[in-house]
Each structure stands twice: as C-alpha cells, then as structure tokens.
C-alpha cells in the first residue's frame, strides 16, 4: 500500500443559475494540488505550499477537519500529513473549500485502500464545507469528486445524480472584491413568490433536459434565475453589464458562480468563450476592479491522482 499520494482537485461552479443549491459543475481550471502521506500518529499535519495563509491547525483548516473525521472513522489509528498547494483562491466562489475538502477525502480513502464508500467520502468532505460556510452542502463537493455536472436532488438522505452534458466552454471572471458567503446567504429572502418558484422549476427542468439532450439552445433559454440572482447580483459590481454583453458576444448564458463574486458564462466553442472573456475584462478595466479570468472546459474526471 502506497504511503503517499498526489492529487489534483478541480474548481467547481455551484448554484448553476436556476439550479441554486442543487446543481454544480467541475472545471478543468483552476485546480489545487495536494500531497497526502499516511503517518503513524492519529493526528493531521498541515503544510501550506501557497501564500493564502490558511490555518495550519487541523480543526480550523478545511482539509484538516476532513482528515480528522476520516481518522475518527478508521479502525487502526493512523494519521496524515498533507501538503496543500492551492491555486483556487479562497472566497472566489469557484469551490476553493470544496477542492480542499474533496481532495483530502478522496486522497485519504485512496491511501487507505478505498475502504469507504463514495457516499462516506462525500460525507467526510462535507465536514470541510461545514467549517468553511457553516452549512453541509454538496453542490461543489459532488462535481469536484466525480467531475462533470452533478444534481444534488437531496442532502438528507444524500441523493446525487450525474447529469451528462455536451462539451461546453466555461469563462470565469473573478473580480477581486470580497463577498462573504454568510452575507450572500443572509441577503436572500426566506420566502419566494409561488409564481417565481414555478418559473424557476420550469427553467431547472429545461436546463437539465438541455444538458441530457445536448440541446445548446435549450440550455441557453433555461439559464435564467428569477429568485437568487436578482438579489445577490447587487453585491457584484458590473454584473448585469457583463451578463448582457457576454450574451451579445455569443455566450449561451451564465450567472453568479457559487455565492460570488465570480461570474461564469457557458459557450459552445472556444472562440466565443474568449470573446466572452474579452467582454469581462473590458467591463472590469472600465470599473477599475482587479480581476482574474479563466477560459476552460467542463472537467469530466473530478479529483485525479497524479
């Protein structure tokens, strides 16, 4: 049994427009790299190989709490040392905590000879999400582990369904502003109009059908969120201008990635995805906000051993 393993853990886009809390998608870029080593003491040693200054105390580190929960479930008391090289910026809205959590859970299970089921691995990883955002959600974790697009039909009991999709390009812009997940959650109304909810479930049914039937046009028509986006987008400067102009540039549509501040757009081809990136850059240059962009595709592998 190998004592050390290296993995790549991908960024993810959760809350796919009308798919708030239930749909997530894995990206080929950015991704984190982690090296996990089995040790003889039932403790977790964290070594950060990046400049994000994340906590090294296991109880306060996303990957750390995941590994602690793994240790708790193990029969023979081993431990872990983990080296983390994050490229997904914490707070970007593209699944930084999920990449740490899912990467640690998958790597640990692999080192232990895959003694835990996929569901248990997801449960371990969700402990990391709980630390990061206070909520055990799986809409980043599930696609991060499995790749592709995941539908989280239910959390209790956990029911995750892979949604096949046609090839899609994803353009992401991460404006360098802070939107705290807790603020993004607090701003939402607890009640919504039934007529809006009906629109939303028409769109989510359309979106899933568009993916499964490989119908790009239907995907585009269904990428509409009448409930969350109108509220949350006010926290993101330039949001509506970017959305309108990206669609004019040919993008199928898109919206807030996770709880923001990143914005993502889906396109059928690379040329359009790059034209979309250009639009995003122009808007933030004009507003004077720093940003990163990514032009990437859907990652169909999930957490990968390298």
């Amino acid at each position: 049994m190998a004592k050390t393993i290296c993995i790549k853990s991908p960024g993810t886009v959760a809350n796919l427009v009308c798919g708030f809390d239930i749909l997530g998608m894995a990206l080929n870029e950015p991704y984190d790299i982690m090296k996990l080593t089995l040790t003889d003491e039932p403790t977790v040693i964290i070594i950060n190989k990046d400049n994000f200054n994340l906590p090294v105390e296991a109880e306060r580190n996303v990957a750390g709490v995941v590994l602690l929960s793994v240790i708790e479930k193990m029969e023979n008391k081993l431990g872990f040392e983990i080296e983390i090289e994050k490229h997904i910026k914490p707070g970007s809205g593209i699944g930084s905590s999920a990449a740490s959590a899912a990467g640690a859970a998958v790597a640990a299970n692999h080192l232990l000879g895959n003694i835990f089921s996929s569901e248990e691995v997801i449960q371990f990883a969700m402990n990391g999400e709980k630390l990061a955002s206070g909520v055990k959600h799986a809409d980043n974790i599930a696609p991060c582990i499995a790749g592709g697009i995941s539908l989280i039909r239910s959390i209790y009991p956990l029911d995750i369904i892979a949604i096949d999709s046609p090839p899609l390009y994803v353009t992401v812009v991460h404006p360098q502003i802070e939107v705290r997940t807790s603020d993004a959650r607090q701003i939402l109304r607890k009640q919504v109009l039934l007529k809006d909810a009906i629109k939303q479930w028409g769109n989510i049914a359309g979106l899933v059908t568009g993916f499964l039937k490989q119908d790009y046009d239907l995907i585009g028509r269904s990428l509409e969120d009448v409930i969350i986006e109108p509220v949350r987008s006010i926290l993101i400067p330039g949001f509506s201008e970017i959305k309108i102009k990206c669609k004019e540039a040919g993008a199928l549509g898109g919206g807030i990635s996770g709880s923001g501040p990143s914005i993502f757009m889906l396109s059928v081809d690379e040329k359009t995805a790059k034209a979309t990136e250009k639009v995003m850059k122009e808007v933030y240059e004009k507003i004077g906000v720093d940003y990163y962009t990514y032009v990437t595709t859907i990652n169909n592998k999930g957490v990968e051993i390298i």
Copy 2:
C-alpha cells in the same frame, strides 16, 4: 380537401407531482371522440353526443371558443360543425377541457390543410382552457396534442419541450366529488419557503432526469411535492391513505392529477398498476365515495385522426 374529420383526444395528467404548472402527460384512456365538419358560414354549431349537458352556445363551450378563435384568424370565412362525444368527465382533473380544446384546434387545422403552426394550434387551444379555468395554461394542452410527457418551460413566450420516458403504467382514480379548479387554485399560498422551493426544484430536476435516463428508481424518489400537495390534498378524501398504500403495493409514486380530485399513480408493470387500482378501490369503498378507475399507459400519439 376533406370536409369532415374524426379524432380521438386523450385525457391528460397535469401538475405531475413536483412539476406543478410545468409538466403534463397524455393517457391512453379515457379519451373523447369528436367529428368536425367544415361549413360555409363563419359560425360554430355544437352537437353534444354525451350526457354531460355542456353548453351548446359556442362562446360558452370550450371547443366552441377554440373554433371561434380559429375562424377569427382564417382568411376565407368558413365555419365548423362539431359533434362531441366526451368520455372524460368534466371536473375530473384528467384534462377534460384540454381534450375538447386541443381536439378542436388540431382537427380544425387538419381540415384547413394544416395552415397554422403547432404553436398557433396550442394558442387556439389555450383559449379553451382560459374559458374553462380562467387561466391560459398549456400543461394539459401540450401533451394532449403531442402525446407523451411535455415540459412547459415557459408560457410567455411559449416554450414546450418533449420529455421522453420509459414505458409506464398509470392508474387513475376519480372519486365522484367536486373540487372546483378555482377553489384548488385559491387555496394555494402566494408565497412559499425558499427551502421548500429548493427541494421542489431538486425533485423536478430528478424527475426529468429519471424520465430521460429511463431510471425508474429515480422517478420514484423524485415523485415528491412539498408545496402544492400538502395544501390541495386536504380537499381530496382518502388521499394520504391511498398514496401510502399504493406505494406499499409497488407503485413508483404519484399524486393529485391536475387540480384533482383524481389521483394518479405510476407503475413499472401492469400487475403493479392493477394492484394499485385495487388499493384505490378498497379505500373509496371503505369511505363510501363513488369512483371510477382507469389502468392505462402513457399515450405517445396525442390527438389522433380516426
């Protein structure tokens, strides 16, 4: 060009559990029969061949208003005589008005050499639904015309998507009580909890995926309605007992058909569908409510020329 046409127009189940207002399904039974004849006067003559005592004044008859709206759009001013033999009881919740409306619209277009587009035919038919329930909805009309399962992603603009499904048996019970569509609509709250709406869109995404991936188990798990059913089912005696016992008998699940009072259940095979029927009968025998039952399958043809 033929001057007379005979058609069969099928019953439909709208509001497919979590698919309130957006999903409908056509049934092989019951169905209405209509005979439409082109006449030289721009009027509509209605001849009822059943005992439902529906109005014969065109403006007050569902098929009548549909045909009047067709005449209004025609260039050369012809008219129609229609003989209607309804088998779908008005007020049953299995698309009686939609069968009249869709049947009349499709038959008229056929007699006229299909000069109107499918969307125009649906628009004509929706005039009948407006007369029947006050609302232009398409979740019975669309599957009635096209057969199978229809997703109505949006009404304005009209966006209807066919959802393929695996073979399914449908058991319907129509308890002989009156639930007025307007009451069933009024009883609904205008606002719903966001957390319930999220559950509902997880289920609708699961249901559509289950149909498209032919995953019976997923269909069953997704047939859950946390918003409409808890409110409306109180108008239907025996509802929860029927639902629990039908699932115990092996049905995948089901719920209120349209706005009730009919209840439908989906099953994988005929044997289960019949066991489900037996359960329904037993419950209404015990309560002492008269009822009709149907054991049928999904109709994949829609309105059919005979």
